[in-house]
Symmetry: C2
Subunit: 319 residues, 2 copies
């Protein structure tokens, strides 16, 4: 099986419509729309690996979890993430297979439950920053801090919320299997929600309470499988400089050095575009040929160079 | 990759201890114990595919689902099943990989989110029989029947409960991928909870509200991959005739014809041993060499012929 490999990282807005009620029917419909574009990309000859955020979905799982915690023991974060990989992966693999069948393409599409290794020495464990799950009153929050050792923060006046560490992905436990499936022409959905975070302990792997940034995990995945392009789909058509200001300007093509300089000057905030830009820098620095950042609905236009921010190596080594 | 293939179908009691509180730590501990035996089986040279029930776990997912349905739209049954494949598969693949690593065996272990096709013409859709999810009061049950078209039954005086169809598995959507991974020496966890039930519609696949018996799905899987043995782990050491009576007698070795006769005489009730026996009959009739039914804790003894019920072809064709 030959062909250039693209890793496509789907943001939550490729799966759950922003203004909706959050029903599965809404998710199915949007996922089908998103997969139509992915099927077109595959029909054009690209080999695709998909990864995805688990944005509001794992939040729902945790909220359900907490709601009945007195009756049913709640699941830890790693298991919640694994559940979300199953449910989201199922929707994606079914929608994409159906879209491919409609085009007469008989590719297998499959979801792998994926663990991603982080280091116990990662600084993130000293300062949890990623808010997750439901909101609590101040008194509930204090109880949870005492009982479970959770870190709670006051989140934008909506109440108190748990924060967990967001350590950097180091390696993907199942990467050899992903590579083998890719070689066989199977379209793989993997490392959903940034992967299930695990640490190496006692010669094996153990789940840990953390959330890995999905774009950083996608960059590790893209590097590992030798992808040419890492395509990050989000809720903006292009990355902008001076974002939200009068002199806001979209970036179309930009070199590794130039994006590094902009990032160094604090252009991209840690809570939103920052991790995407750092993932792009990592991927290109390690030999990747192109990172595209664009809106979930613009996949094809972005791939054809008609939209999106395209981050390229300093010396263009493409043939 | 050579070697004889065993499909091991884990019952709920290989994952969740019967008398426990249902915490994830209890599940992890028991799963690790169960995987120790599976690792021994692999170390002895067998190639193993694992499948599993989702017994109380998917029930918990549904109960959490229903508890907050006014705030968060509930997931349909197929997505609940997919979630459970993710969470249970994760626990199994991690525990088994760790056990193999402890023995110096570097096999990959991976979970595939698996869809299983059923026929829309299956008689089961005319008479739903499988109870699932939480218990309701009579008035709640009546409301749900009217609002959602659910079938509700009065379950053993504990309240009203939803029943769904349990159609027969026809084929596994991801079976080619499972076969390929097996050929590469990867240990696959697949078709969890009987698989996510889907029907063929408009040239593609669509999820449907049903539950597929996990042993029937395991038999289809075992046939498809050309397994020599289908090993069904449950909560009895042997299948018994005259079960629960004074003249109860365990079956050790029994031929296809003889088990067929016993089944024909109504020896195995539809709600418990019946589907396991029918799965065994299907597998052996289609060329399988042996079905073992035993207790989850007796895997190794059963494989060595020291425990368990062994169902064999009429003419023993083993070398």
């Amino acid at each position: 099986m030959k062909g250039i490999i693209d890793v496509v990282a789907l943001g939550g807005n490729a799966i759950i419509p922003a203004g909706g009620k959050g029903t599965i029917n809404e998710q199915r419909k949007l996922t089908t729309t998103s997969m139509r574009q992915v099927a077109d990309l595959i029909a054009s000859g690209r080999r695709v690996i998909l990864t995805h955020g688990n944005g509001p979905i794992v939040g729902n799982i945790m909220e359900r979890n907490e709601a009945v915690k007195d009756r049913i023991p709640p699941m830890p974060l790693d298991v919640c993430g694994a559940d979300s990989q199953g449910g989201i992966g199922y929707m994606i693999q079914q929608a994409l297979r159906n879209e491919l069948l409609a085009r007469g393409i008989k590719s297998d599409v499959t979801t792998l439950v994926s663990q991603v290794v982080v280091s116990e020495d990662d600084d993130a464990f000293d300062s949890p920053t990623k808010p997750i799950g439901p909101f609590y009153s101040e008194s509930e929050a204090k109880k949870l801090e005492a009982a479970k050792g959770w870190y709670m923060v006051n989140d934008a006046d909506r109440g108190f919320r748990r924060v967990v560490p967001s350590p950097k992905p180091v390696e993907i436990v199942e990467s050899d299997v992903i590579l083998s499936l890719l070689e066989m022409g199977v379209i793989v959905v993997a490392v959903g929600g940034g992967g299930i975070p695990v640490v190496r302990r006692d010669g094996g792997f153990t789940g840990i309470e953390a959330v890995i940034d999905k774009d950083r995990a996608a960059a590790v995945l893209a590097g590992k499988v030798g992808a040419e392009r890492l395509i990050i789909l989000t809720n903006v058509t292009e990355v902008c400089v001076n974002f939200g200001r009068r002199d806001e300007e979209p970036l179309r093509n930009i070199s590794l050095s130039d994006i590094r300089k902009l990032h160094g000057s604090g252009e991209f905030p840690a809570g939103s575009m920052g991790p995407k830009i750092e993932s792009a820098i990592d991927f290109i620095s390690n030999g990747g040929k192109e990172v595209i950042i664009s809106h979930a609905s613009m996949l094809l236009e972005a791939c054809m160079g008609k939209a999106g921010t395209h981050i390229l190596p300093d010396t263009d080594s493409r043939a």
